[in-house]
């Protein structure tokens, strides 16, 4: 999709994050690496607890108190964010790297007009009030809200979920960041609104050259927005590759399982839904070898003993000992 090689806007290298529980450091992100270029959309996919949101928060520098980054680097426009003092890091948030997330119902201050909240975001980054007011209305319009100067005077409770999510997006793009992290921003919305928000973010990305990181567990969404996909499992990237290749020929049984569990469209010829048995591992009792082996239909002895690393497989990178052409047909699940 991206024809020429551009400098990545965001480079994440070998990121390790731990959460402190009961006096132990539990690894929740284990050596995640990826690049995002301007105008490119990368999807982080995984089940709950796979570490995708904590990866995003590590990049933002907004981890909860119990969590901390213990290794690796995050470079934004060539600057190592980890080494910045907190006051400077704070200035990058919103201005260079923005985030939109899940619940638009509670993401806005209920006591402030939404326009003022966007103005506030600009003001916090030193934009003069008059200009901030103009740019806020502009951003609300840019987020696809009709008659933005009227919407600006509304309070959050006067807006619908979709409208609020658009306000959040307006707030995120008002400062013209280079990177936008979208953490399941469509999960809480109606399907039709979801489609609109997807289309909006996609359009903004193309129009402004935003580097987009889309975090989701919904592979249907991924197919629509992402150029590349990273599949995460138990804090690690288990497969990465261009969206089309990854969908056509997944190289990791987990990816294959996720794809098999998408309900087929009417009239297509996939008879049964497949499901991945078992549950994601308890991070405190991580399985030996490959973390996915207890649930893997393709498991061989080596998977239990030795941890696979990401290696080129077909068009993708995958962390699996068993090549795709050695796979046995997955068992049919009850649907």
């Amino acid at each position: 999709m991206n024809d020429e090689v551009r400098e990545p806007v965001l480079e994440v290298r070998d990121l390790h994050t731990v959460v402190r529980t009961d006096g132990h450091d539990l690894p929740v992100v284990r050596g995640v690496s990826f690049d995002v270029r301007a105008g490119e959309a990368v999807a982080l996919v995984g089940e709950s607890g796979s570490g995708k949101s904590l990866t995003a928060l590590s990049v933002m520098g907004l981890l909860p108190d119990a969590a901390r980054v213990v290794g690796g680097s995050v470079r934004l426009g060539g600057r190592d964010l980890q080494s910045l003092p907190e006051s400077e890091r704070r200035r990058t948030r919103g201005a260079q790297i923005a985030m939109v997330y899940q619940d638009p119902m509670t993401s806005l201050n209920p006591l402030m007009r939404v326009g003022s909240q966007v103005v506030e975001a600009l003001d916090a980054h030193g934009v003069p009030r008059d200009e901030a007011r103009r740019r806020a209305v502009e951003a609300l319009g840019g987020a696809g809200l009709p008659r933005p100067e009227r919407v600006a005077r509304r309070y959050p409770h006067e807006l619908s979920g979709g409208q609020r999510q658009r306000v959040m997006i307006a707030m995120a793009i008002a400062l013209r960041p280079t990177v936008l992290i979208a953490d399941e921003p469509t999960t809480a919305l109606d399907v039709t609104i979801q489609q609109q928000v997807l289309a909006l973010v996609d359009e903004l990305r193309r129009a402004t050259g935003l580097a987009l990181i889309w975090i989701t567990h919904d592979l249907g969404v991924v197919a629509r927005v992402a150029d590349r996909v990273l599949v995460m499992y138990a804090g690690q990237v288990v497969e990465a590759g261009p969206t089309r290749d990854l969908y056509r020929a997944p190289q990791h049984p987990y990816t294959a399982g996720l794809l098999g569990s998408i309900p087929p469209m009417l009239g297509t010829e996939r008879p049964d839904l497949l499901q991945i048995g078992g549950a994601p591992p308890d991070l405190a009792r991580r399985p030996s070898g490959c973390a996915f082996h207890p649930r893997c239909p393709q498991r061989v002895d080596r998977c239990v003993e030795e941890e696979p690393v990401l290696k080129p497989r077909g068009e993708n990178l995958a962390a699996c000992w068993v090549p795709r052409d050695h796979w046995v047909p997955a068992e049919r699940a009850v649907s």
Binding site: L62, L111, E120, A121, A124
Partner: protein, 295 residues
Amino acid sequence: MTDPTQRLDAAPVAPGGLRDVVRGVWRDRNGRVGLAVTGVLGVVALAAAVGLTPYDPIAQNPADQLVGPSGEHWFGTDQFGRDVASRTFAGIGASLRVAVLAVALAAVIGTVAGVTSGYLGGFWDQVVGRLTDVLFAFPAILLALSIIAALGRGWLNTAIAIAIVYVPIFVRVARGPTLAVRELEYVAACRVVGFSGRRILFRHVLPNVSAPIVVQVALALSWAILTEAGLSFLGLGTQPPESSLGLMVSDARNLVTTAWWTMAAPALAVIIAVIGLNLLGDGLRSALDPKEDRR
């Protein structure tokens, strides 16, 4: 994590300015009475402060000693022939001055301490929490008395004493909802756009925990008036020749059998003020509480 009794997130306080709050209080029957009574007292106090009383409250008039209530002197005169109504109005002014100053001090200090301790947590929260516990450990009146004993008499020291007694209450009232609001997503969203801690705290957290604080202000004012009256009655608060309601009640003790009106007027004023402010507090509570039905 979050205290279930402090679920402010479910239905946020209706946004709006002072006008909406006043309208909300007016819709509540108790609130309407409270607002009217408090308003009248405020006007009387302000008028007395600029010298607008029927008679001069300190001018003695030996010809008219201990005259009963009449059209000329609404609450009669005292043993020096001073107009009791005028003195009561001046006393309301003096009592309100102490109460307002005390509550303002307590509300500002207590709210800032409570909101910051709830938001920041950690060591600061521990410090504020322990200091609050210490202050709570003393009975209110006893604490006020000992503070005055340390500082000396007078209306300013009385105000400071009352403020110190009330600070821990405001700390608690501010801290609880802060713990709930802190976890809300829009506060996290503020961090995502790169707001500073101070901006988040005072522009986004404080307004969302202000409802119970406002209610507490009305209730604190009523308690402060009562305490000021009590301390002045004991001779520790406002000192003569200045006047206050408690001082007047105290002066009237020996006269009450011969001239009941000298005590009735200031005592009635205290009662009306306390009831009025409590009703106002009720009204504010139902106007600001999202869970209460508005109609």
